[in-house]
C-alpha cells in the first residue's frame, strides 16, 4: 500500500538527509539546499505529488541510524550502494555514479595510487568521512584503524591534508575535484580514479518497510531517466547520466 506516500503528500514535504559535500549535495549562501542528489529527489517527489523536500545535514555515519530512528524519510546524499547497506535500507535504482579519488600533496610523495598502497606504507595516513564508503574501502584494504582518520567533513579533510595531518584524503572524484578547485592550492593534487576501486552509484535510500514508497519513487525515476530530464539535472554537476542508466540496484547490491 502507499500509505507513506499519502502521508507525505498530506504533509506537503519529505524529510531528506543530505551530507555537506558538493557536488552531491550543496547549500547555497541563502541556505537553499541543492546539489545533484537533492535536486533529483525534489523533482521526483514533486511528480509524486509531494510539494517539497526539507533537508537536514548529517554525518554519513548518522544517516542510516537516523533513517531507522524515523528522523528522515529518505537519504539523498551520495550514500553509495554496498551490499551491507542494501541489507539495512531500501535503495531506489541508481542515481549518481562516481569513482573514488585521492587528494594528496603535490607530486604524490608517497606514491599512493590505491587503498592497498596505503595499507602497505606504514607511514601513510588516510582521511575519510566517518561511516562513508572510503573509510570502509580503506579498512577492507587492510589499513589499520589508527591510520584511518575519521574526518568530519570535506573541508576539514582538505585542511588536514594541507596541514600535513593526513597524507591522503579520499572522496568520490567529483567531490574531490570540487574541494580542490575551491581550495585553489597548487600544492594539492588529485589521483582519480583510485586503482582497483570500483565505480559506485548511490540511490535514494528508504527505510525498510517503505518499499512501496521506494517503488513509486523508482517509477518516476525511470520516467525521468527516459525523458532526458535526468541528464539535465545531474550533468551540470559533472555526473554522468549514462553511468547511472547502465547499471541497476540488483547488480550493485550483489557486488563483491
Amino acid at each position: 500500500d502507499d500509505s507513506r506516500l499519502e502521508e507525505l503528500k498530506a504533509q506537503g514535504f519529505a524529510r531528506v538527509a543530505i551530507a555537506n559535500e558538493p557536488p552531491f549535495t550543496a547549500v547555497a549562501a541563502d541556505g537553499k539546499v541543492s546539489g545533484a542528489a537533492p535536486d533529483v529527489a525534489r523533482e521526483i517527489f514533486k511528480r509524486l505529488g509531494v510539494e517539497d523536500i526539507v533537508a537536514s545535514i548529517s554525518e554519513y555515519g548518522a544517516m542510516i541510524p537516523g533513517l531507522q530512528a524515523g528522523r528522515h524519510d529518505v537519504i539523498t546524499a551520495g550514500l553509495f550502494m554496498k551490499p551491507e547497506r542494501c541489507a539495512a535500507v531500501a535503495y531506489s535504482e541508481p542515481v549518481l555514479c562516481d569513482a573514488e579519488a585521492f587528494a594528496l600533496k603535490k607530486g604524490n610523495p608517497l606514491g599512493l595510487k590505491s587503498y592497498k598502497d596505503i595499507a602497505d606504507n606504514p607511514d601513510a595516513r588516510i582521511g575519510a568521512p566517518g561511516g562513508g564508503t572510503e573509510e570502509k574501502l580503506a579498512l577492507e584494504a587492510g589499513v589499520p584503524r589508527d591510520r584511518v582518520i575519521v574526518v568530519p567533513d570535506g573541508q576539514s579533510g582538505l585542511k588536514m591534508l594541507q596541514d600535513g595531518r593526513i597524507d591522503v584524503y579520499s572522496l568520490p572524484v567529483l567531490s574531490i575535484n570540487d574541494l580542490v578547485s575551491k581550495a585553489n592550492d597548487p600544492n594539492v593534487e588529485v589521483v582519480a580514479p583510485v586503482e582497483g576501486a570500483p565505480v559506485y552509484c548511490d540511490g535514494a535510500a528508504f527505510r525498510k518497510g517503505d518499499e512501496a514508497l521506494r517503488d513509486a519513487f523508482d517509477v518516476e525515476l525511470a520516467k525521468l531517466k527516459e525523458s532526458g530530464d535526468f541528464a539535465k539535472i545531474i550533468e551540470p554537476y559533472g555526473f554522468s547520466a549514462a553511468a547511472a542508466m547502465s547499471t541497476t540496484r540488483e547488480k550493485l547490491c550483489a557486488a563483491q
Binding site: G61, P65, Q68, V150, D163
Partner: protein, 220 residues
C-alpha cells in the same frame, strides 16, 4: 530495534580503547588547567593594571565561548599561522585553557576566603609577604580548593567527547565509529552513557570524601 548483548561484548574492547584516550586526555588537560589557572590567577591578582585587565578579558572570553568552537579554532585555524598540533595535543590544550579559566576562579576564591584576620595576624607577628604566603595563607587556602578543583576535573571528563570533533579517537568517537559501521546507535551510546555514569558516581563518592576531609580545616 532490540538490545543485543552479543553486539555489546563485541564492541566492548573498542570502547575501552576509547575510554583510555578519554582518561588520558582528562588527566593531561587537568594538569595543564591547574598550571594555567595559577598563571591566570596570579596575573589577575598581582600583575600591573593593564596586564591584569588583559588577562581578565582573555579569561572572560574563553569562559564565554564554547569549548567546541575553541577546539575547531585550535585545530583548524592555528595551522594557518604555522602551529600544527596533533589532534590529542590540540584537545588537551583546548581543555587546559578552557578549564584553566575556571581553576583561576577557584584559586582566587580560595585565597580570598582566608580570613582577613590571618593576613593581619601575620603582619602583627612581623612576617614578610613571602613568609605570609608560604606559612600562613597557602596552607589554609589550598585544602579547601581541592573539592572545587576536583569538581571541575569531573566536568572536564564529561566534556572530552568534544574532542571527537577534532578526530581524537576517544570514547565517544569510538562509539560513533562503531555505530557508523553497524548502523546501531542504541548499544554504543548507552554504553558510553553507562561508562560516564559509573565514572561520575565513583568520582562523586571520592568528592564527598575530599569535601569532608578538607572541610575540617575551615573550622575556627
Amino acid at each position: 530495534m532490540e538490545w543485543d548483548w552479543n553486539f555489546v561484548w563485541q564492541i566492548m574492547p573498542t570502547l575501552l580503547e576509547g575510554l583510555k584516550i578519554t582518561i588520558l586526555a582528562t588527566a593531561l588537560g587537568a594538569a595543564l588547567a591547574a598550571v594555567i589557572g595559577l598563571v591566570f590567577a596570579i596575573l589577575r591578582m598581582t600583575a600591573p593594571k593593564p596586564l591584569a585587565r588583559a588577562t581578565s578579558f582573555v579569561v572572560e572570553f574563553i569562559r564565554g565561548t564554547p569549548l567546541l568552537v575553541q577546539l575547531y579554532f585550535i585545530f583548524y585555524v592555528l595551522p594557518d599561522i604555522g602551529i600544527r598540533l596533533p589532534a590529542l595535543l590540540a584537545g588537551v590544550i583546548g581543555l587546559g585553557l578552557h578549564y584553566g579559566t575556571y581553576a583561576a576562579e577557584v584559586y582566587r576564591a580560595g585565597i580570598e576566603n582566608v580570613p582577613r584576620g590571618q593576613w593581619e595576624a601575620a603582619k602583627a607577628t612581623n612576617l614578610t609577604g613571602r613568609q605570609t604566603w608560604i606559612h600562613v595563607i597557602l596552607p589554609q587556602a589550598l585544602p579547601p580548593m581541592i573539592p572545587a578543583l576536583a569538581n571541575y576535573l569531573i566536568a572536564m571528563f564529561k566534556e572530552t567527547p568534544l574532542l571527537s570533533a577534532i578526530t581524537v579517537l576517544e570514547l565517544m568517537n569510538q562509539a560513533k565509529s562503531v555505530a557508523n559501521s553497524s548502523y546501531r546507535y542504541i548499544e554504543p551510546m548507552t554504553l558510553v552513557g553507562v561508562f560516564f555514569l559509573i565514572m561520575s558516581l565513583i568520582s562523586v563518592v571520592f568528592l564527598r570524601f575530599l569535601e569532608e576531609r578538607y572541610a575540617r580545616v575551615e573550622e575556627r
